[in-house]
């Protein structure tokens, strides 16, 4: 496949005219980081490779990495559409407006935007319920911290990240009432140097658990260097840091979705939808919980995972108050998706403010 795409490029480059072979469907992927980030973009690229593997010669894939938001993104998406892509996945929230804009220009191309909310006849949205994984992470973190201080590296203060913080905090607090969260915002998804600095600062402030909502493995390395700090893989398994400091992970598994959507284009059954799947359907999975975690804690964490998967437990189940002390969810009430999707508030007990 790769050879063919190289070949096609060369043929085109030399002006030898149209390509001799043709796949039934061409799928484009726009990535926010490099495919070698071993986090967010790495997993999207694994999904792309799974599509190639699944469909073989029937499908050709193209991609562009480290695409900046704004004008660059729109140009890349347009170029992909012009080069014959039938289906384009844009895999970061900042590609929302460029995707919608390109979709207007290319009504026959199907677009899929990750983590956004704008739909059109030829634009779907998709994302994972990562907060489900955060609940399990919070549980393990609350049980394992000795200093009762948990450091959290936030990327952008958007609802997705705030939701993760709330979910992790609620479940850490439930098993450890003394737990405190220290949050640092670094305003980037991928910047190993900044991520490492944030991790070190949090560790210096006494944190012995590092949770990250950024895409590189730099915080894992910082935890490893500190020696007595645990961490969790983010977006990808980050298995290189097993069994310690990385004691578990939240893995985004995009492959089944990408294959299903490509199949829908092949079959002509593609329709605009908004997908938000969690552990149950398999878009979010929990990476191996290592032996660094006590057996009873591991058993509880796995039980929670199964309860979330079969729908008997929702990570946001009342009673929960907001940070300002006002009521949010009554006892037994679960959060509705609308509130979760627009979440810009902390729950009671978290310190600091969501940056404005």
């Amino acid at each position: 496949m790769k050879f063919k795409s190289v070949l096609s490029g060369v043929l085109l480059a030399f002006g030898f005219g149209t390509v001799a072979f043709a796949a039934d469907v061409k799928v484009g992927f726009v990535y926010v980081g490099p495919v070698g980030d071993y986090g967010w973009t790495y997993e999207h690229n694994e999904g792309r490779l799974a599509v190639e593997e699944h469909f073989g010669d029937r499908v050709e894939t193209i991609y562009q990495e480290s695409v900046a938001y704004g004008a660059d993104a729109e140009r890349v998406i347009n170029t992909m559409a012009m080069q014959g892509a039938d289906l384009i996945f844009t895999t970061s929230f900042g590609y929302m407006d460029p995707t919608i804009s390109a979709a207007k220009k290319f009504p026959n191309v199907k677009f899929e935007h990750a983590t956004g909310f704008k739909l059109a006849d030829n634009v779907s949205t998709y994302s994972g319920r990562f907060y489900e994984g955060r609940a399990i992470q919070g549980h393990i973190a609350g049980k394992m911290t000795k200093t009762n201080k948990i450091g959290y590296i936030g990327s952008y203060p958007i609802p997705e990240v705030v939701r993760g913080i709330n979910s992790a905090y609620l479940h850490a607090k439930k098993v450890n009432p003394d737990v405190e969260f220290n949050i640092i915002w670094i305003y980037t998804w991928f910047d190993p140097a900044k991520e490492a600095d944030a991790a070190k600062a949090l560790i210096d402030q006494g944190a012995d658990v590092i949770l990250q909502h950024t895409d590189s493995t730099a915080p894992q390395a910082a935890a490893q260097q500190a020696g007595n700090v645990i961490s969790f893989g983010q977006a990808s398994d980050m298995a290189d840091y097993k069994p310690f400091p990385r004691v578990s992970s939240i893995i985004d598994d995009w492959a089944p979705y990408y294959i299903a959507r490509t199949q829908a284009v092949l079959d002509g059954t593609w329709e605009s939808t908004a997908t938000w799947d969690g552990i149950g359907p398999g878009m979010v999975s929990i990476g191996e919980i290592t032996d660094a975690v006590p057996a009873d804690v591991k058993a509880e964490a796995l039980a929670m995972r199964d309860a979330i998967a079969n729908g008997t437990y929702h990570p946001f189940t009342g009673p929960i108050k907001k940070q300002d002390g006002s009521d949010w969810l009554a006892a037994g009430e679960t959060a509705d998706d609308g509130t979760l999707l627009g979440m810009k508030f902390y729950v009671e007990g978290l310190t600091g403010k969501v940056p404005e």
Partner: protein, 361 residues
């Protein structure tokens, strides 16, 4: 032992030719790199052709890529022209990126505060505000230099980080789209006709910012060729003492040069946010302010040179994307190629400015 000796008379011919040589060296070594990456040297030529030729002349790519070249080059050229004025006088504004951000914020604020009223006065007001934003931001290092002898390189660079933090703050607070579901980022100015920096001719890529960049090239050309101020700037840079004795006020020169470069960078930011980018977001700035420094030097601080260098730099971006897409080349390899361009330029410059002499011991 080989020794470098500064040439007394620097050849005009070679000064003009070395950028061209640097481009050819970049193509050769870039091709070598692509050949190694692809494991196939016959496709290396294809990669170089995809980057440097196809966006301009291939019927498959050129119709879209050519206008996009203007869109990409416009802000870079506009900023680089401003910077070149200071660089000629030996005043080093390294913080155009910050001035670009402030220009965008100032200009967009005008539009967002008037939304959704329509008036033909809104866009001109935005341009003025954008220019003012960049001007003010550049004036900070200028005044600090004049009154406290601070180093403008450090101050202007540090102010980039301050500007980035202001940008992050307003995208989530002051200028955030109230209908944006809590996501950071302003309203999209493309959906606001009075504020939209639209193309002057549809599908040409020619928006008001590109036109302004071309005008800036022409004005800068006459400034240095015909105008007294241009002469003063050159003199201040080339012979500061002589300039001083000739009665040229160094403080005024600093303020003029920093202010002008900030003003143009601010306008570039405004044209970008109101046009191609469309909205204020946390990562709105994409390094144009720094790329423009390279372009200013690649163009020899000469307005026409900067025009060509800006277009060439844009070509490496657009062509680089096409090469990535068609050949699956890693994004970092394109950055390497751009790095090579600067490296070879500096390397060939050594031969222009210095003579190699073997030392007789």
């Amino acid at each position: 032992m080989i020794q470098l000796e500064k040439r007394r008379n620097i050849s005009k011919f070679w000064t003009t030719l070395t950028p061209v040589i640097a481009v050819f060296l970049t193509m050769s070594f870039g091709g070598l790199m692509f050949g190694l990456l692809l494991g196939d040297f016959s496709s290396a030529f294809g990669a170089i052709k995809l980057i440097f030729w196809d966006p301009l002349f291939d019927e498959n790519f050129a119709p879209y890529a050519r206008p996009q070249l203007l869109v990409k080059a416009g802000p870079i050229i506009l900023i680089a022209i401003g910077l070149s004025i200071g660089f000629k006088a030996g005043i080093w504004n390294i913080g155009a990126e910050g001035q670009y951000i402030l220009g965008a914020i100032f200009g967009a604020s005008i539009a967002l505060s008037l939304y959704p009223q329509e008036s033909i006065l809104i866009f001109p007001a935005m341009i003025l505000a954008g220019a003012l934003g960049g001007f003010i931001w550049a004036l900070i290092p200028a005044l600090l230099k004049v009154y406290f002898k601070t180093n403008e390189i450090l101050v202007s660079l540090m102010l980039v980080y301050v500007a980035e933090n202001i940008l992050a703050s307003v995208s989530q607070g002051l200028l955030r789209n109230p209908e944006g579901m809590g996501l950071p980022g302003s309203r999209n100015l493309k959906d606001y006709p009075s504020a939209h920096n639209s193309e002057i001719i549809p599908n040409s890529g020619m928006h008001w910012g590109v036109l302004t960049a071309f005008l800036a090239v022409i004005l800068a050309y006459f400034l240095f060729l015909k105008h007294q101020k241009g002469y003063e700037i050159r003199l201040a840079g080339e012979a500061p003492k002589a300039a001083y004795f000739a009665g040229i006020n160094p403080s005024k020169t600093i303020i003029f040069c920093m202010g002008m470069s900030g003003l143009l960078a601010g306008m570039a930011g405004l044209f970008e946010v109101a046009g191609p980018a469309g909205q204020i977001t946390m990562s709105f700035n994409s390094g144009y302010g720094f790329t423009a420094i390279i372009v200013a030097f690649l163009g020899r601080l000469n307005p026409l040179g900067i025009l060509l260098a800006g277009l060439l730099m844009a070509l490496t971006y657009i062509g680089g994307e096409i090469a990535q897409l068609m050949l699956g080349l890693p994004g970092a390899s394109i950055q390497l190629l751009q790095g090579m361009l600067l490296f070879f330029l500096l390397a060939t410059d050594i031969f222009t400015n210095y003579r190699f002499k073997s030392r007789s011991s």
